[in-house]
């Protein structure tokens, strides 16, 4: 029964996705209603998950379905983040599609499907399950990216993402096959047993892990697989960009953390590689972000930088008593701020996303003080200024790096966040210190504005009461 309880949120999401798909066939289907329904499904799933976290004892079912899926406090946290991301994404979409008219009911169904894939991915304890979850997630996301069929930029984004994604999926298969060749199993448990007696540097194991890492690095846009991220984020619609940047990253990081925490043996053999990838991801991302004039592209690039910080946490994980709390906390902090940014962009972006450059937001503080204040809070959180969640996240990551003896990595992380100050401050400067050129008229109160405020409060709440740890 507890088994079932742990998966109840997943079942709810899945059922929601299917129901919405059925609802789409119904001739009177309206996308506005569908958005409210999917909001409801995400909310129910979130609270069910919260109930699971609070009631079901953590260590009772480390593995279920014969070791295909596993539940731990880390996966619970990841699922919570994913459901919350889904919820706030539907809120922003609801507002976004008032001004932009290309949504259909399927949009929300696909959103739920992709969340199903993400949740499965974060819980996967077996490589083929992980692959299937990855594909459920990716297929839904591909369609969502290219949902605006009238826009050539969206089509371009879809193609770039789809072709590269297909490649990375193939790499994942290849990696799985090689690991199977080495360890004789695709189950994490058996791989861990095999690694206890064999070095992780045998060619097959090394190659297999290498291919798996490539796939994940592609999904989290780590260096050198980050080139797609600007165009794809820029081309997709605001809510979807936010969803990709947060929920998808959460799922991918959950998988890779679970995998690397399998055995110290495996983790140790990748420390040097991860170290350099983290460094290049942070600094490469910063270099790209500094040059951007478009806010979406800037946030895309800053997402690369945040992946770099998370990679620091990956370098520092301790497979002996792995809790993933640092990673989960940072993901939560990052997700809140990023979702907030995209909710605000959905709210203020206007028809056809006409306001998207730094200059378009000049003087926002004079016309829409609340919006400007919330955006400022999100930016400060991303920059890691206390007392926001972003600061605590960064604090935990640097602490974990230094505790793990990776002082150099901690220092480089901090230097990278100094560099990142520039582009976060730049938006604040143009919102506050310039005169308004337009009046930013927004019709009525929208759900995105509510979610913006809620997320801004969340930024402080998570920062001041870090319950996860």
């Amino acid at each position: 029964m507890h088994d079932f309880a742990s998966f109840l949120p997943l079942v709810i999401t899945c059922a929601g996705a299917l129901l919405l798909m059925l609802y789409a066939v119904c001739p009177k289907a309206e996308q506005e209603k569908a958005s409210l329904m999917s909001m409801g499904f995400f909310a129910v799933a979130f609270f069910a998950q919260l109930l699971v976290v609070c009631t079901v004892s953590r260590s009772v079912f480390p593995e279920t379905f014969n070791g295909l899926l596993g539940v731990s406090s880390f996966t619970n946290a990841a699922c919570l983040i994913i459901y919350a991301c889904g919820f706030f994404t539907t809120l922003s979409s609801h507002t976004y599609f008032r001004e932009n008219h290309f949504a259909t009911v399927e949009f929300y169904s696909l959103l739920l499907f992709s969340a199903v894939g993400m949740v499965l991915l974060s819980m996967a304890r077996e490589l083929i399950t992980a692959f299937i979850a990855l594909e459920i997630m990716s297929l839904a996301i591909y369609i969502l990216v290219g949902f605006n069929r009238a826009s050539s930029r969206a089509t371009e984004a879809l193609f770039k993402y789809f072709i590269l994604g297909a490649f990375s999926g193939a790499f994942f298969c290849m990696g799985t096959a090689m690991i199977y060749g080495a360890a004789g199993s695709t189950r994490f448990e058996s791989i861990a047993e095999w690694l206890a007696f064999n070095p992780a540097t045998t060619p097959l194991m090394l190659g297999g892990a290498f291919f798996l890492l490539i796939t994940i690095f592609f999904k989290i846009s780590a260096f050198p697989f980050h080139a797609w991220v600007l165009d794809v984020y820029d081309g997709s619609s605001n809510p979807i960009t936010g969803f990709m940047a947060t929920a998808l990253k959460t799922a991918a990081f959950a998988l890779i953390a679970n995998f690397l925490a399998l055995s110290g043996n495996l983790h140790d053999s990748w420390i040097t590689g991860l170290f350099w990838i983290a460094v290049f991801t942070m600094f490469g991302g910063n270099l790209i972000a500094i040059g951007q004039d478009n806010i979406k592209r800037m946030i895309a690039a800053s997402g690369i930088v945040h992946s770099g910080y998370l990679l620091i946490a990956l370098v520092a994980i301790n497979s002996e008593h792995f809790s993933g709390a640092v990673i989960a906390y940072y993901l939560a902090a990052y997700s809140v701020a990023t979702l907030g940014m995209f909710a605000a962009l959905s709210w203020l972006g206007g028809e056809g996303e006409k306001r998207v450059n730094f200059d378009d937001f000049k003087g926002l503080a004079k016309r829409q003080p609340l919006a400007a204040a919330t955006i400022t809070i999100f930016l400060l959180s991303m920059a890691g200024i206390p007392p926001t969640a972003g600061f605590m996240g960064k604090f935990y990551i640097i602490t974990s790096a230094i505790t793990a003896g990776q002082i150099a990595l901690g220092v480089l992380g901090i230097i990278s966040s100094i560099l990142s100050m520039w582009y976060y401050l730049r938006l604040i400067v143009s919102m506050y210190f310039h005169d308004a050129e337009e009046d930013f008229v927004v019709n009525g109160t929208s759900l995105a504005s509510i979610s913006t405020v809620a997320l801004a409060i969340g930024t402080f709440a998570i920062g001041l009461f870090p319950l996860v740890l």
Partner: protein
């Protein structure tokens, strides 16, 4: 004094600031701000009176916050922080009284800034300190950016990025210190008193020391980290320049004494002469730069930096006299140079110019203003009988004890300060009356009445310094004793109280 006095001092301004931001009434902001700062002042003065002059923390308040890392929300005051705290509590009402900036956002930012600064001064936990330390920059960023002069954008970006760079590096240092403690004792803690058991040197500790030092050196600022200062002080609105120069710079000095001295005693001792030299170079450099300025505010900015150099020298000389002098001078500098920024703000409000060449003969037009200005200025150059003299005297005494040559050098360098100040005074207040100055009106009764307490304070501090020094000396003695004590001994004394191992 009631138990949560410090908490009230921190959060009353912050909450009031947030409320002002939210409430739409326009005129109320200034009055609310004034009364809030008055309450903080009264608590501050009462704390000062109740402070019993022993070493060690008083008015302690602590509640656990993040237990897995041993972080607690801890507050307390001791002799090191007493005068800094008093300064930041006492001088704030002046800002609300004197200047006529109308926007409520401005007052809200000032209040937030005061709360954050008091928080940074009172924090006994490093993480709490860091949070407030970063937080106090945010209002500065907004006040300069929104209400500053024509060159405000580059100025505000410069100060923000510069100081954030320094403090982020310090964050690494903070975590490193805590993790060293964790390695040695197996417990996570960010409590200052317990971390003082460490006396780190060698290896990465050298870098961590520099990270702390650079963060504080930027805030103070010590040459060559002062380059943000002239622009920021000049472009900022007068109230912000006052806050920056009178209080925020002092928190840098305070941080140096509080954190660097105990944590990195061996490193600090070996680097002290180097930083002392930097202090002297800064004094001379900024002094000479001040002579050449045409803008009074810019001149004051350089003068402030130059005098901060003296305070830093006092810390680097590492003995009881010089450290006491530095702590005393913190308050003295705030009442003199800090207040001068307000006077210049008034002058600018009335004349719309700060150019020294355009001014002249103000003393004939405005005798009260000229007298007050002269008192603050003479205190700033260290005339005997004023507050500035005691601090500078103690610092030079201590520095001579440390090294005869450096002490004499410091003493002679102070003369530069006298030169530019008196020359400026002559050109602005005497000589021929210029066309612009005929518009000048003297201080109103209200303004004069607001400044009067500060003027009295300058003389009280100069004539009865013992009132203040007796309260801070025991803490200073302990700090210096700890600096030179062998590390082992401290570990024993500090670790007796560890219970949650």
């Amino acid at each position: 004094m009631f138990e949560s006095a410090l908490t009230v001092m921190i959060f009353l301004p912050i909450v009031a600031g947030a409320l002002i931001l939210l409430c739409p009434a326009k005129g109320a902001a200034r009055i609310i701000g004034f009364f809030v700062s008055l309450i903080v002042l009264m608590i501050g003065v009462q704390l000062f009176i109740d402070f019993d002059g022993q070493a060690g923390m008083q008015f302690v308040y602590s509640t656990p916050w993040i237990s897995s890392l041993g972080i607690s929300f801890g507050l307390g005051v001791d002799g090191i922080s007493l005068l800094v705290l008093l300064t930041s509590a006492v001088l704030f009402p002046l800002v609300f009284c004197v200047l006529k900036e109308q926007s409520r956002n401005f007052y809200a930012n000032l209040l937030l800034c005061q709360g954050a600064m008091i928080g940074a001064i009172c924090a006994t936990d490093l993480v709490v300190f860091y949070i407030f330390w970063e937080l106090m920059l945010v209002p500065i960023f907004f006040t300069i950016g929104l209400y500053g002069g024509p060159g405000r954008l580059p100025a505000t970006l410069k100060i923000t990025i510069y100081t954030i760079a320094g403090s982020l590096l310090m964050l690494v240092g903070i975590i490193y210190v805590a993790s060293c403690y964790h390695q040695q004792f197996g417990v996570w803690t960010f409590n200052m008193a317990r971390l003082s058991a460490l006396s780190l040197s060698g290896g990465f500790a050298g870098w961590a020391f520099l990270m702390f030092m650079i963060a504080f050196a930027i805030k103070i600022p010590i040459f060559p980290f002062h380059t943000w200062l002239p622009d920021a002080y000049t472009e900022a609105p007068p109230a912000t320049s006052f806050v920056l120069s009178a209080i925020m710079a002092k928190i840098g000095v305070y941080g140096m004494i509080r954190f660097v001295l105990p944590f990195f005693a061996p490193e600090f001792i070996s680097w002290a002469t180097f930083f002392l030299f930097l202090g002297i170079i800064g004094m001379i450099y900024c002094g000479i730069a001040a002579i050449g300025q045409k803008d009074i505010k810019r001149m004051l900015a350089f003068s402030s930096a130059s005098h901060m150099g003296v305070i830093a020298i006092g810390v680097c000389a590492m003995n009881v006299q010089s450290l006491t002098g530095s702590l005393f001078q913190i308050a003295a500098h705030a009442t003199s140079t800090g207040v001068l920024f307000l006077f210049v703000g008034l002058m600018e409000e009335r004349l719309k110019t700060r150019n020294i060449d355009a001014l002249g003969g103000l003393a004939y037009r405005a005798p009260i203003f000229a007298t007050f200005f002269a008192v603050a200025m003479l205190a700033s150059v260290g005339l005997p009988g004023t507050s500035g003299f005691i601090g500078e005297f103690l610092i030079i005494l201590g520095t001579v004890k440390y090294s005869m040559f450096l002490g004499l050098l410091t003493g002679f360098t102070l003369i530069v300060g006298v030169c530019y100040m008196l020359w400026m005074f002559q050109r602005v207040f005497y000589e021929k009356e210029s066309e612009t100055t005929t518009r000048f009106t003297d201080l109103t009764a209200g303004e004069a009445f607001s400044f009067l307490p500060v003027m009295i304070l300058i003389f009280v501090m100069g004539i009865f310094p013992q009132l203040f020094i007796s309260k801070i000396e025991p803490a200073v003695q302990q700090q210096i004793a700890q600096l030179y004590a062998p590390a082992q001994q401290q570990v024993v004394t500090n670790e007796i109280s560890v219970t949650d191992k």
